[in-house]
Structures are given as structure tokens and as C-alpha cells.
């Protein structure tokens, strides 16, 4: 009897302790305390980020901000890059999300707004200077939820050494996709002795659909009615794949080929890729992970000649990376966090980011200059034009069902590229699914 009572008591004690610690952690985890009772001192904010070892941009932004704002301290909280959204969801649901929430993928904006995880920051966004691009990607029902600090866009990388070897002229900014395809075949033929392919197109749906959605006249990925405009893009690429001018989708997926390896180790002479690859390529050439070769950037090939040539503005695509705020913020903390967001989309922050190879959402000469001052970067005129002049359309325009739309189109992409389903059938299937989703 005594033992039983002791056991019961122990169980009760344990249960009480557990519930107490649960409450306790809730209290300490509460990051939204306005600190009104605390003595005046620096305001401390938390901010989410990922893979700090390889993604120094968060620390750079924070350091640059804190240098001018000694009354604010920003603590970075690291998440795993691959599971960022899932981990954030856990923190959002438990009420322990950071004060400043980094929006890694624009297509998650809608979900987080649904979950009440992002505050309306329209006042901050409307005060941003005109040269900041990408804020539209974080707009849901006319309300702004994010400030873009980073804006990548897709360009054409090419290996100058391989072009020289093949005796083919470098891209000059005048290419349409048909020119690109013709050159890819010519390069493949000229470099066949070395087993080099003319082009590399990675297995992601964005490598094709991103361009088609941005460039095709009248195309709107969110309208759900008609995706036949993707067909000419697919037919061109399937032809390249079948003729051996680019690696097949099957080999890329089963052998887990990386685009860094394919371009960096000179297996392909050119590759359309996001501008984030610039920093990677420089780093890998310095470390020896990539071969040493001369390279350059050209504007992405265009739908037709109406947007080609350096006198025009080429159309490309890309999503921004942005910062949102926790709706629980108020008082001093809110004011400090808003100041930080404004700073992140400023020319000063843009220059700081450009120095580590990150393209800011701010278009300014000082930012471009800082970007091309990096050691190891291609500095020719066309590379500078490709990086500084473009009409970058959002890959994921704001829409309540954008993720579901992209999923259906992604299924069509793998079905077509693996050559298991004819283009028309796969696109019709995707269209039917998207219509259901939007109904």
C-alpha cells in the first residue's frame, strides 16, 4: 500500500512538473514581450534564417544594420534549409516564430498569411523607393506582407573556353530560344570529340516553365485555363534532348547530376541558371571544385526578337527573397523591426550584399559596381548588361493556389521530360487538375 501511494505521488509530481515546464517554456519562448517593464536599453529582435555557414547574407544584413543602429540587437535563429518551411510552420503553430520572418520561397506567402503568421506591412512597403523590385510577390488581396531584400533572376551562363574551342561566336544578347537551340547543336557537334554537350538544362520545372510563363505573349500561370503556350518550349527541348545536344532528363534524375558539376566541370558549354550561381561558381573555381575556365553571362534567350539585343530589355524570371514581420510585434520592437526591413531594401544594404555576391532587390549603379568588383567574376559588357538590365517577372505570382498550380505543372514537366507522356496529353491533364483546384 505504501509503495502504491508513493508511486501515485511520484506520478502526480511528474505530471505536475511536466505541465509546469510546458508553461515555463511557453513563457521564455515568448519573443513578443514588448519589454515595457524593462529598463530602456537595446531592443532585441529575433530573425529566422538557414544554413549560416553557406548563407552569410543574414549576418551581413544584421551587421550592416547594427552598425548604424546601436539601439537594436538582432539575434539570428538558424533553421535547416531543406525543411525551412516545415520547421517554420511548427514554430508558427506553437506561437514561437521569430520577430522577423524570412520568406525563403515566395509561394509560401499565402500559406503563412492563412495561418496568421505574417503582419500587414503595407505602410513599410509603400514607403520603399521605386528602385526596389519584387514586393508584388508578397501581396495577398492587395495587402503587402513582405519586403524583398534579394532578387535573383535567370541569365545564360556560358563557357568562353569551350566556345573558342568550338570556333563559335559568344552569345551577343540577340538570341531567341531557337538561336539557342541551333547553337547548342552546333556546339555539341564541334565538341563531340570531348563528349561535351552544347547545353545543360537542369531537371527543375522552372528551367523551362519559368521562361515560358514569363516570356510567352499573354501567358499567365495563374489563369488556369490554358497552358498550351508551354508546348513550343517543350518541343524545342525534347528535340535537343533527343539529338544529344543536352543531357537527358532521365540521366539527370537517376544519376543525380548537379548543375554545378555539369557546368563547373565543363560537361556543357552553356546553361540557363539563376544569378545565385555566380557566387557559387566563383567560390568553386577558387576552391578547385570547378575547373578554371573563362566564363560569361548573357541575357536569357527570348521568346522572339522583339525583346532581344542590348538596346531592349530582355524578359526573364525569378523570385525575390523577403522579410516579413510577426503580427505579435508591437511598440518599440515593431518600430525597430520596421526600420530593419526598410534598411534591408536600401542601397546601403544592397552594396553590402553585392560584396558577398548576393544580388539585392535594389537596382542602383553602386550595387552593380560592388557586385562586379568581386574577384573572379566575369566583367565583360554583356555580363554586366545581363545582370543589371532585365524585366524580371515573378516565377510564383501571388495567388491563393499558386503552390497547387505549380505542383500540377511540375507533374506535367516530369511526365513530358521523361518522354513518358506526349506534350499535349500532359498539359491537358495539368489544365484539368488546375481547373479543379481553382473551382
Amino acid at each position: 500500500m505504501k509503495k502504491t501511494r508513493f508511486g501515485l505521488l511520484a506520478a502526480l509530481a511528474l505530471a505536475t512538473a511536466l505541465s509546469l515546464t510546458a508553461c515555463g517554456s511557453g513563457d521564455t519562448g515568448d519573443t513578443t514581450d514588448t519589454g515595457s517593464d524593462e529598463p530602456a536599453g537595446p531592443v532585441t529582435l529575433t530573425m529566422s534564417g538557414w544554413s549560416f555557414q553557406t548563407t552569410p547574407e543574414f549576418q551581413v544584413l544584421v551587421d550592416a544594420f547594427e552598425a548604424d543602429n546601436s539601439d537594436v540587437k538582432i539575434e539570428l535563429k538558424e533553421y535547416d534549409a531543406n525543411d525551412y518551411e516545415t520547421l517554420m510552420l511548427a514554430d508558427i503553430a506553437s506561437g514561437t516564430a521569430t520577430d522577423i520572418i524570412t520568406i525563403k520561397q515566395a509561394k509560401f506567402t499565402n500559406q503563412w498569411v492563412n495561418q496568421g503568421a505574417l503582419a500587414d506591412i503595407s505602410s513599410v512597403v509603400s514607403a520603399l523607393p521605386n528602385n526596389v523590385s519584387g514586393a508584388a510577390s508578397y501581396t495577398v488581396n492587395g495587402v503587402n506582407y513582405g519586403v524583398p531584400y534579394r532578387q535573383d533572376s535567370w541569365v545564360l551562363f556560358y563557357n568562353k573556353d569551350l566556345f573558342d574551342k568550338a570556333g563559335i561566336a559568344y552569345p551577343d544578347g540577340s538570341w531567341t530560344w531557337d538561336d539557342y537551340a541551333a547553337q547548342a547543336k552546333a556546339l555539341t557537334q564541334a565538341l563531340s570529340a570531348d563528349g561535351v554537350k552544347g547545353a545543360y538544362e537542369h531537371s527543375w520545372q522552372s528551367t523551362l516553365q519559368g521562361f515560358a510563363n514569363a516570356q510567352s505573349p499573354g501567358a499567365d500561370v495563374t489563369n488556369g485555363a490554358d497552358y498550351t503556350y508551354l508546348k513550343p518550349y517543350y518541343e524545342r527541348v525534347l528535340d535537343l534532348q533527343q539529338s544529344g545536344a543536352q543531357e537527358t532528363y532521365g540521366n539527370i534524375t537517376t544519376n543525380k547530376l548537379t548543375y554545378q558539376g555539369q557546368f563547373g566541370k565543363q560537361s556543357a558549354a552553356m546553361m540557363a541558371m539563376g544569378s545565385w550561381y555566380v557566387a557559387t561558381l566563383i567560390a568553386q573555381q577558387a576552391s578547385g571544385d570547378a575547373d578554371s575556365f573563362a566564363w560569361g553571362m548573357a541575357p536569357a534567350p527570348q521568346y522572339d526578337s522583339s525583346t532581344t539585343g542590348t538596346s531592349k530589355t530582355p524578359i526573364t524570371f525569378g523570385d525575390p527573397t523577403g522579410l516579413g514581420l510577426n503580427p505579435k510585434l508591437e511598440g518599440d520592437k515593431l518600430a525597430a523591426a520596421q526600420r530593419f526591413l526598410q534598411f534591408a531594401a536600401s542601397e546601403e544594404a544592397g552594396v553590402a550584399l553585392a560584396q558577398i555576391g548576393i544580388l539585392s532587390s535594389v537596382a542602383a549603379d553602386s550595387v552593380t559596381q560592388a557586385y562586379f568588383a568581386q574577384a573572379g567574376i566575369a566583367t565583360d559588357d554583356l555580363s554586366q548588361f545581363a545582370i543589371s538590365t532585365h524585366d524580371t517577372r515573378p516565377e510564383n505570382p501571388p495567388h491563393a493556389k499558386i503552390a497547387a498550380i505549380q505542383t500540377a505543372l511540375g507533374e506535367a514537366h516530369s511526365a513530358i521530360m521523361s518522354e513518358s507522356t506526349p506534350v499535349d496529353d500532359a498539359l491537358a491533364d495539368a489544365t484539368a487538375k488546375i481547373k479543379d483546384e481553382l473551382a
Binding site: 502504491t4 496568421g116 532521365g250 537517376t254 544519376n255 503552390a403 516530369s414 511526365a415
Partner: protein, 306 residues
């Protein structure tokens, strides 16, 4: 309790003893049960409610009645694809794994030198990281450069399958890997079952001149019936909720050719719009299907027991 107060002393002492033993027993299972209740049981019970709501993992779920299910069965062809794929996987994976693991168990149920090595070898895939398995098998299945197709071409097949990059062959490829991975585990269960069959039965049959096949058919199989039943139930449920293997091998592609229900649940909840209500509705359907299969299996088992 009223009977306890009126009964004699020894009975009272016995009932006190029983209560004490019950409490002691409960305290032993408490740590496990509390964990199970908090992490598994309560969320499952909540799921039954959430399935009838619109909910984004935060805030109050909005009751929508049968709307999720109406959309699921009438306006979501991806769900129908996933349902068919899941049934396809189960229909092929279940008999294949059952046959392979039983065959292995019978083969390895002998007293022979090196038997421990072969048993370990057969079990090894089960304890290997599934990501590593998927990576290596993907390389082997590579349509142009993979060793499997090279072998098929060598033996004269001019047009070998595209495996994981063909919507026709991706599911067979996944089933092959799934069977290869799990047969070792179920082999162990069969081996344990084989130990329970009395050796005298085999000796008697041998004396009567029964062939190896008829010994297997008339002694081994009936003797293994409880084990086979257990494995069939477990395998059905495991196959219906397969996720990790498909996710890392093909991610559901090409197209939706290997998309299974579990992946669809995950996709709806964690990718994109965060529709936890809708994802819960799919999970509920999967639960009902699994429950249905298991009940049928129990009924069949009971009937054949009689």
C-alpha cells in the same frame, strides 16, 4: 464496491491486492502510454474532427461538413491517381514480399555452416538508410548507363524499360526495391514461426514417404498460418501507407505515376497552401481503407480457423 463491503475479510484483502496489482501494472505502462497518448492517440482523435474542417494548422478550424470529401472524390483527380497507385503498390508488393520472405525463411531454416551470415545478409537491406538505398537503386535503374539495363541489353533485350523515368515502369521499379528492402524483416518473422513447428511432424511425414513439396504444403504452410496472417495484416497496412521509399526514389513521378496517398497527404499539408483540413480528410480515407482491409482479413482468418 457495495459487494466488497459486505463480503468477508479474505476477499477484501484479495480485492485490495488486485487493485494494488492493477495500479502497479498501470504505472508500468504509464510512461509508454502517456507518450503514445500525447504524440499519437490525441492527434489521431483530433484528425477525425479536423478532416471535416478547413484548417491551416493555426487558429480555429472552420467546420465545412463533407466539403473536403466531396472535393476529394469528385474534383480531385490527383487523389484518384494516388489511390490507384497505392492499391497497385499494395497488390504487387504484398504477394511478392510474402513469397520472397517465406522462400528465404524456408531456405535459411537449416543447420548449416555460414547460415548466420546469409540470414544477416538477407536482413541487411532493412537496416540500411532508405536514402542510400534509393540513391543506389536509382543509379542501377538509370535507363542508359545503369547496370540493370546494360545486363538486359547484354542478354538480348534491345529496348529495355525506362524504369524510374518511365511512367509505366516507375512503379514496378519502386515495388522491386520495396520488396528487396522488406523481405529480410518478414523473413525473420517467418523464421521465428518455423521454429514453432514440431520436428516430429516432419519426421513422421518423411517416414510415411511424403515428398519435400508435400511436407511444405501440408506441414509448413498450415503450421505458419498464425505467422502468415500476422505478416499479411502488417504488410497490407505498411504497403498502404508507403511513403519514404517513393518519396526519395521518384518523388511521385514521372507525372503522378508513383504518387501514393501518404505523399499526397504530406504534400497537401506541408507543401504549398498548408491545407491541414483537406490533408486530414485524405488521411481519414486512408485509415478507413486500411481498417476495411484488416477487418476483411480478420474475418477470413476466423472463418478458415473453424
Amino acid at each position: 464496491m457495495t459487494t466488497a463491503t459486505t463480503t468477508a475479510r479474505p476477499v477484501r484483502r484479495r480485492s485490495r491486492l488486485r487493485r494494488r496489482n492493477t495500479l502497479l501494472g498501470l504505472s508500468f505502462i504509464a510512461p509508454n502510454f502517456i507518450g503514445f497518448a500525447v504524440i499519437t492517440l490525441v492527434p489521431i482523435l483530433i484528425l477525425f474532427y479536423v478532416a471535416f474542417t478547413q484548417w491551416y494548422a493555426v487558429g480555429t478550424p472552420k467546420w465545412t461538413g463533407l466539403a473536403n470529401f466531396r472535393k476529394l472524390f469528385l474534383h480531385d483527380s490527383t487523389f484518384i491517381d494516388a489511390l490507384i497507385n497505392t492499391l497497385y503498390y499494395t497488390a504487387a508488393h504484398l504477394p511478392l514480399t510474402l513469397a520472397a520472405s517465406l522462400g528465404l525463411a524456408v531456405l535459411l531454416n537449416r543447420k548449416m555452416r555460414g547460415m548466420a551470415f546469409f540470414r544477416t545478409a538477407a536482413f541487411f537491406p532493412y537496416v540500411t538508410s532508405i536514402v542510400a538505398i534509393a540513391l543506389v537503386w536509382n543509379l542501377m535503374f538509370s535507363p542508359d548507363t545503369g547496370p540493370i539495363n546494360q545486363l538486359l541489353r547484354f542478354i538480348g533485350l534491345s529496348d529495355p524499360p525506362g524504369w524510374t523515368v518511365s511512367s509505366t515502369w516507375a512503379m514496378p521499379a519502386v515495388i522491386i526495391v520495396g520488396t528487396w528492402r522488406e523481405m529480410g524483416y518478414y523473413m525473420l518473422l517467418f523464421l521465428a514461426g518455423l521454429q514453432t513447428i514440431p520436428a516430429q511432424l516432419y519426421e513422421a511425414a518423411q517416414v510415411d514417404g511424403a515428398s519435400a513439396w508435400s511436407r511444405f504444403w501440408h506441414i509448413t504452410l498450415p503450421g505458419l498460418r498464425p505467422t502468415t496472417f500476422f505478416i499479411t495484416v502488417m504488410l497490407t497496412i505498411e504497403s498502404m501507407k508507403v511513403f519514404d521509399l517513393v518519396f526519395v526514389m521518384t518523388a511521385g513521378g514521372p507525372g503522378t505515376s508513383t504518387l501514393v496517398i501518404s505523399q499526397l497527404i504530406w504534400r497537401r499539408a506541408f507543401e504549398g497552401e498548408g491545407e491541414f483540413g483537406y490533408a486530414s480528410a485524405i488521411a481519414l480515407v486512408l485509415f478507413v481503407i486500411c481498417l476495411g482491409f484488416t477487418l476483411v482479413q480478420f474475418v477470413i482468418n476466423r472463418r478458415s480457423e473453424k
